[in-house]
Symmetry: C2
Subunit: 307 residues, 2 copies
């Protein structure tokens, strides 16, 4: 089975040749994407604003998907959804006190999209989904771990991939999702950032509050690699293979206390679950890396903690 994310690991989308304009706010990014003057990945844009994974389903699957998120909140933190079936310009927010986005058009505010028909990819990287959107569609916004990376950097613990100018390493695991209706048989996807053994409690503490963007790690240490069912730390399923600060494969550090893999729930998980469910009809999402940037700030989700 070819999933959305596999497609991208083998066939990268064409990047816009245009230099990115100065896009400082979430609305700047959305308006530029809507005007199709910005068609590139969103990493690093509009610092401090949250970026969201986008999953758009026929309404008959909406309640099962909502339940999937409720039962698996760590890999699938639901941030918002269409205000009503068919609504593309307003969302119900699940972040207390944060409206998520005003001046929104879900059909064209992400820089690029993917379109599936009966679980087969039919368009990759298109600039809008105006023709495909119907009054029976419901859009879901899922948190993305960009939300805690700036907090780690501010604490002197920048994620390795950001230091090296690479994409975060991501892996399939054997950790089962709790099924929900049509969504069953899928497993967690995790992202990985290496840290020293002595820094792990601090890393856990910093990311703990970011419950809408996966929160604290789900596992850490070299023994976690086998426990999660990951074959080799150097063989990623998505993103770039992890490296030491001097550029060697991270696997060379295996067993050391100086560099340990630390794993978080990952926003690719719900995309995998949707693609594995063999849904009928038109399903859409953002193109991986080409996220929907929203008006909520990193801080908004820390305020909405469970403490």
């Amino acid at each position: 089975m070819t999933t959305l994310a596999d497609k991208f690991s083998t066939e990268p989308l064409p990047r816009s040749q245009t230099l990115a304009p100065v896009l400082l706010t979430a609305q700047d990014v959305r308006l530029a994407a809507r005007a199709q003057t910005f068609t590139s990945p969103t990493s690093g844009l509009a610092p401090g604003y949250l970026q969201a994974n986008l999953i758009i389903l026929p309404s008959r699957y909406a309640s099962d998907f909502r339940l999937l998120c409720a039962r698996n909140p760590v890999p699938c933190p639901l941030i918002a959804e269409s205000a009503s079936t068919g609504c593309f310009n307003a969302v119900k927010s699940y972040i207390p006190g944060s409206p998520v986005a005003s001046n929104l058009d879900i059909r064209c505010d992400a820089p690029r999209y993917m379109v599936y028909r009966d679980s087969q990819l039919v368009k990759a990287g298109c600039l809008d989904i105006i023709d495909e959107w119907s009054d029976d569609h419901v859009a879901f916004l899922i948190g993305c771990s960009f939300g805690f990376e700036s907090a780690l950097a501010a604490a002197g613990l920048p994620p390795r991939h950001t230091v090296m100018g690479k994409n975060v390493p991501m892996y399939r695991t054997n950790v089962p999702m709790c099924p929900a209706g049509v969504f069953s048989g899928s497993t967690y996807v995790v992202s990985m950032r290496p840290y020293k053994a002595c820094d792990i409690e601090k890393v856990r503490r910093i990311t703990r509050g970011y419950n809408a963007t996966h929160g604290e790690p789900i596992a850490w240490g070299w023994d976690a690699v086998a426990k999660l069912g990951i074959g080799s730390i150097d063989q990623v399923q998505w993103g770039d293979a992890p490296v030491t600060l001097d550029g060697r494969p991270l696997g060379e550090m295996s067993g050391s206390e100086e560099e340990l893999p630390v794993f978080w729930g990952c926003g690719v998980t719900p995309q995998e679950a949707v693609m594995r469910a063999n849904l009928e009809g038109i399903v859409m999402g953002h193109a991986p890396g080409y996220m929907l940037v929203i008006d909520s700030q990193d801080d908004d989700i820390v305020k909405a903690t469970y403490t």
Copy 2:
């Protein structure tokens, strides 16, 4: 390590010799437990009312435990907690529209309790915890799968253990909990009820709405036994070993479509997680099977679905 539940699998509590009085409502059960005229297991009492697992922690662990429940809602559905630190006679309800319990004394309304000091069991099966309760304690109420068993029976699909007059079979799995602060390194505990292959979608549908009492199954079928890391279906960790309708070990049906194991998240999970966390100070809980019966009805939690 001896956990709370292990203790009970080897040393059953003394059962009261008194015949159970007629206890039709949740408040009947609570008042009889408070008066110490009822000191027996609560299974089958006050039909239609929810029964809750009880976990009582020093306040410094409360926010981590709340987060543990939020990150693992299927095995740890948080129903309510003390209205404030030290409060034993009122709770904040997390079931929308249901006050959970009025006329409540958490220190004596369950028929029997367990007390741990610095993670060592110091009292098993005591009738109240009035001496141990302090103004620094917070009580948490966790859903119990009794909540959906009557719905299964009403649909002509009574759980096997209820038909045979036994306790539900329970197993440790290798499915990791998402850690939260001091609570890390624990795994899901599951309960099991066998059903025919042709009934499983119906069983999933009936239990789906009961999200505050573990909801729909997390896995089913003979291949799920190995996938969950369960050694043998006939070797339970808690409860009674599962049997066919004519009393043979369920394992003899292995591979058949006529009797498949179906696994649900189980309320023993949070107790295990608490006992594995090596907490300091006094930790308390109900004695397994001697639940806190609450005023919320089975139907209250179905109304609070995610659809």
